[in-house]
Structures are given as C-alpha cells and as structure tokens.
C-alpha cells in the first residue's frame, strides 16, 4: 500500500502549476498541463505512523499531484538506514535525524539537508515517580533504557553534560519495541518519544488501580529542556544531484513545498490526518495516532522562521554535541565539524515562497495543540 492513490483532486492543479512556473523557469515547459508526473521516492525512518503524517496528507490531499509529482512513500525497518538508501540512489529523498545523517555524510554519503521539518527534539526519559529521576544528573547508578540504532545520542549528551560516564556510571539497556520493561520495573527510566512510547505507557493499565497510568504517575526528563536536544526529522536530498541536475533541484523544491503544505494541513486538521495515516495501514490504534499527530505538531509548530527553515543555533548545537558526546565504545558521532554544504536553505526558501504565494500559513503562529484522551491499548 505505499504506492496507492496519489491524489485524485486535479481541480486546483492549474493554479498551483501556474505559480511554479512563475518562480522556477526550468519547468516552464511543464507549465501547460501535467501530462507525466515526475516519479519521486521518499524513504521513511520507520513504519507508517503519524510521525510522517504530513507526507501522507500531501499525497492524500493531492498536493504532490498539484506539483506534478508522483510520490512513492517507502517504509523503513529496523536495519534500514534511510540516508544510506538515499546515498545509494535507491530513493530520491529520505527522512533522517540530523546527527545520524551527518555521521553518514562523514562516512562518504553525499547527502544534504534541505528542510528541517521538526524544529525541536521530542525525546524524553520517562520514569515512575518513586524513582525520583527529574534530571539527567539523577541517572547515576540507574538502569537507563534506550533504543540503540543511533537514537541514543541525546542520552549520552545529557549524561556527559551532567558529568557522568555512560560506560561506568549508568547501566544502559536496550529496550524492546514496547515499554513493558519500564512497567515491569526492569529498567528505571525508558527512552520515549513524546509522540509514541510515552503514550504507550499512558495507554497501559496500572494493575494497582485498575486504571490507565496517568501523567502524574510519571517523571519526565526532556532532552530539549535539558539543553541537549538534537535536531530530528529532516528531509535529505542527494548532494551530487542538487549540484548538477537542475530538474532534480526543481523537483526538490516542489516536493518540499507540497510536503510542508501537507504538514500545514495536519496542523489544522489533526483528526483528518489521523484518519489518513490509519487508512494507510498503520497498525497503531486510533487514539494513539491522534496523540501522536498532536505531539508531532507540537514539535513543528509554531515555526518562527517558517516550517522547515533552519535555525542555525539549533544546528550548531546539534553539530557540537555530535562531536563531543562519547558513546559506550568511547567514540563520538562525528570526528570533525560538518562542512557548510551539509545543509542548504535554498530549497526550503523557494518552497516557502511558493507556499506563501499560495496563501498557506507557514509559521503557524496561532497554533494551539488539542487535547487528546488516550484509550487502553491506544484504540
């Protein structure tokens, strides 16, 4: 089901393409009518879920079709490294967390960040109240859960910042794909995304009370709040093709524009986006997906510089942490500072211009999250 219905609303195609022509002369020929849409493949980091709702919304709402794109969204897996798929040419664009992608770039993958979708880190360390873990400094001597697979750097950064040695002062444990280890008390604090695993805990029944766990039962350490948040979901493109292939660059602009428009749609229509994702075949429950949608929106909106724009302070912090933080093996993510070409604002700037012209609110200044009630098991 990834390659399914890519938009049937051709009604407002003309308007959108007209705008494109105005800003990008390279696609002038395609101005009249979209006869053969450009095929584009996007690699996700994980299975279909609301974390990627913007792209599915763009597909579902026909924003991609409006840009004359035929987008195939490829799911991820445990061992699929999206940025490597991109570097190998298996896909045209990929989503990836910034530190992981920078590591690949250092290892020779010619990839460039073209839109920083998530403006904030959504990683938490969740623990029960009785463990009294309210900051990274409290990790000392505890069993600290994490997912591995390169998603653990913020933990190391926080530990380092708190003056702890990841290899000695804590016991690191890789979590399974569920939160059972936290509930069973096997680990003292579990790594959790605000939009996913945290909700899983709140969807589970507390055997003592017979009711679902409540936020009051839990302590939460937010890495963003700890000052060690690293940039997460971003859209990455092939550096070589951006440099040499004008058509690819034009496609990138259109793709980013349509994707961001999808995210704007999800900001305003969280429930509808939830339905789109569920319809795409996500196996997570509906209330869970709505929670996820809402939390993801919080990571994106409001976007002061426009959605997808780069905040150089956040970028520099991420790069610095990636160079300083030592992992279990005593290695850092990056051995040297990323070069200036690791990201480019050109694409997103043009895309935002397109959207502005289209009358899309790209900043979401008035965004307010909704209230979501979680049901047992996320259903």
């Amino acid at each position: 089901g990834d390659d399914s219905d890519s938009g049937d609303s051709t009604a407002d195609t003309t308007a959108a393409t007209a705008d494109t022509t105005a800003t990008s002369d390279t696609t002038a020929a395609a101005a009249e009518e979209c006869t053969e849409p450009t095929k584009v493949k996007l690699q996700l980091q994980w299975f279909i879920q609301a974390q990627f709702a913007g792209y599915f919304a763009a597909q579902d709402q026909g924003y991609y079709a409006d840009q004359c794109l035929d987008v195939e969204i490829v799911e991820g897996g445990v061992d699929i490294v999206p940025q490597q798929q991109l570097a190998d040419g298996a896909v045209d664009f990929a989503l990836s967390w910034v530190p992981k992608a920078l590591a690949s770039r250092e290892a020779g993958a010619d990839i460039v960040n073209i839109a920083q979708v998530f403006q904030r880190s959504g990683t938490l360390q969740v623990s029960f109240k009785d463990k009294a873990i309210t900051s990274a400094a409290d990790f000392s001597g505890k069993k600290i859960g994490n997912w591995g697979f390169g998603n653990e750097f913020e933990i190391f950064a926080a530990l380092t910042k708190a003056g702890l040695d990841p290899a000695k002062d804590v016991e690191l444990v890789q979590q399974q794909f569920d939160m059972a280890a936290l509930l069973a008390g096997d680990i003292d604090a579990a790594e959790a995304m605000t939009y996913n695993e945290y909700a899983q805990v709140l969807e589970a029944k507390n055997p003592d009370t017979g009711e679902l766990y409540k936020p009051e039962d839990l302590n939460v350490v937010s890495y963003e709040a700890e000052g060690v948040g690293m940039l997460q979901d971003a859209i990455w493109a092939s550096g070589a093709k951006l440099a040499s292939d004008e058509a690819y660059k034009a496609t990138a602009i259109k793709f980013v524009a349509a994707s961001l428009k999808g995210w704007a749609y999800c900001r305003d229509n969280a429930e509808s986006c939830r339905d789109i994702v569920v319809a795409k075949g996500s196996k997570l429950g509906a209330s869970h997906q709505l929670w996820q949608m809402n939390e993801v929106n919080k990571l994106i909106w409001p976007a002061a510089g426009g959605v997808g724009a780069f905040d150089s302070a956040a970028w520099d912090r991420t790069a610095a942490l990636a160079q300083e933080t030592k992992n279990l093996e005593g290695k850092t993510v990056l051995t040297k500072a990323p070069d200036a070409a690791a990201y480019t604002s050109d694409i997103v700037t043009e895309a935002l211009a397109l959207l502005e012209a289209d009358g899309v609110d790209t900043k979401g200044g008035s965004y307010a999250p909704v209230e979501v009630t979680l049901n047992e098991g996320g259903n």
Binding site: G148, Q176, A181
Partner: protein, 259 residues
C-alpha cells in the same frame, strides 16, 4: 609437512583472492565507507578495537557457552527419558519437530517479557532451546539405533537392561552427541547474536554490530562481524577437538556408518 602445506594452500589462495577482489572492488567502484568498507579498513578497525571486540565477544560467547552446556545437558537427559519411556517419545517428538520448524528466535521477544530485559537469561534460554533440540534428536537416535546383533549378543550374555544401556546404547550414542555438538556450536553463537536483536544489555557483539551499522560506522561494524566469525569458528573448532580427544577415531566411525 609438505602435504600439510599443500592441504592448506587452496583455502589460503581462496581467502587471499576473495579479500583481494573485495579490496579491489571497493577501490574500483569507489564504494563509500558507509556502504562497504575495504578489508584493510576493517582490519584496521579490528586491530584498533581489539579490546572492545574481545569484551563484546566475551559477553556473547558466555551466553552461547552457557546455553550450549545447558542445552546439551537437558537434551541428553531428555533423550535418556525418551529412550526409556516410549509414550513420552510419542508425545514429545511431534512437538520437537514443530518447535524445530519455528524460527525459534521470535520467542526472544516473548521471553524478554517473561524475564527481565536486563537479565541475560532470555538469551541463554534461547541458545539452550536451540541446542536442546539438536542434541535431543541426535542422541535419541544414537540410543535407539543400535545394531540388533549387539542387543541380541547382550541378551545371550543374560545382561540386564542397565548393562545394555551402559555398554551398548551409551557408547553407541557418543558419536551422535558429538555430531550434535558440531552442529550446535556455531548455531549457539548465531542464536546468541540474534537474541541481542530484541533488546537487553548493550554489551554483546550483536548489539554492537547493529548500533555501528545504524551510525554508518561500517568498518567498525564489520570488525565486530569479524569478531563474530572468529567466535563461531572457535566454538566449531573446540567441538571438533573435544570430539577427537574424547573418541579416538570417532569421526571415522560415523563416516563409516553412513556409507
């Protein structure tokens, strides 16, 4: 001496050719290090991280070893019971066949919840299970497939069932046990890695490989893979050595029988 050298030549030539081709492919196609590293780079990494790799191999190796021993003991004990009580065999055999057909490692996810994820028990239990079935099937065969002439001979000596067990069935089963060990030794190592896949303490080879791959540290990942191969090979070689010292001509006996 000369003949031993000649016997070693083909594997060495093959190995050198293989790694040379690999090295050349990386150079010629300009394969990026995030994709596939050259053997020389992997070797560098291996040499630089020897102590880390050794640490990780020790953890995974211990799991494999504990599971191997436990599985062997359980398997041998069970096969004795099976050869003694037919009805038990009738019930257990179909289950063994079924369980053998399952990709057993999917149980790790379940076992991790049944025990604590921080404990090594689920991983060791996994290895135990895998080894247990291999040993059970083989040893049970060895205990029952004795030559009828030998049984008849023992009966002509008016030997009691216990003497038949000690003097005929058990010795007959020994080579089968070693065959089982040779199969289970590498299987135990592989199972130990795969079990790390589902979480738990992050100190074994399996989790180091995944995390390095996820971080685009390809050469480092393959250095750990090299460690994994060496560990598997070590287990295999040890089982062969144990066999040849424990049963003079053991290998010959089996090959003679299968002819």
């Amino acid at each position: 001496m000369k003949s031993r050298l000649r016997a070693a030549l083909p594997p060495v030539v093959f190995g050198v050719a293989f790694f040379a081709l690999w090295e050349a492919a990386v150079k010629i196609f300009d394969l990026k290090p995030y994709f596939l590293s050259a053997p020389s780079k992997i070797w560098d990494q291996f040499a630089n991280n020897k102590s880390l790799i050794w640490e990780a191999a020790r953890v995974s190796g211990t799991n494999a070893l504990v599971g191997l021993l436990a599985g062997t003991v359980l398997g041998v004990a069970m096969s004795f019971l099976l050869s003694r009580y037919r009805i038990l065999g009738d019930i257990v055999t179909p289950l063994a066949i079924a369980l053998n057909a399952i990709p057993i490692f999917v149980l790790v996810a379940v076992l991790n919840n049944m025990y604590s994820i921080t404990s090594e028990i689920p991983r060791r239990l996994m290895v135990t299970l895998v080894v247990y079935f291999i040993v059970l099937v083989n040893v049970a065969k060895g205990l029952t497939q004795v030559s009828p002439t030998q049984i008849e001979l023992m009966r002509s000596y008016a030997a009691p069932e216990s003497a038949i067990l000690r003097k005929v069935r058990v010795p007959n089963a020994v080579p089968y046990l070693f065959t089982a060990l040779k199969i289970s030794a590498p299987a135990a190592v592989i199972t130990a890695f795969v079990s790390e896949y589902f979480g738990g303490a992050q100190n074994g080879l399996g989790s180091r490989i995944t995390s390095n791959i996820a971080n685009s540290k390809n050469a480092a990942a393959w250095a750990y893979v090299l460690g994994a191969c060496l560990l598997g090979l070590a287990f295999y070689l040890v089982s062969i050595i144990v066999e040849s010292t424990a049963t003079p001509g053991g290998a010959k006996r089996i090959s003679g029988r299968s002819r």
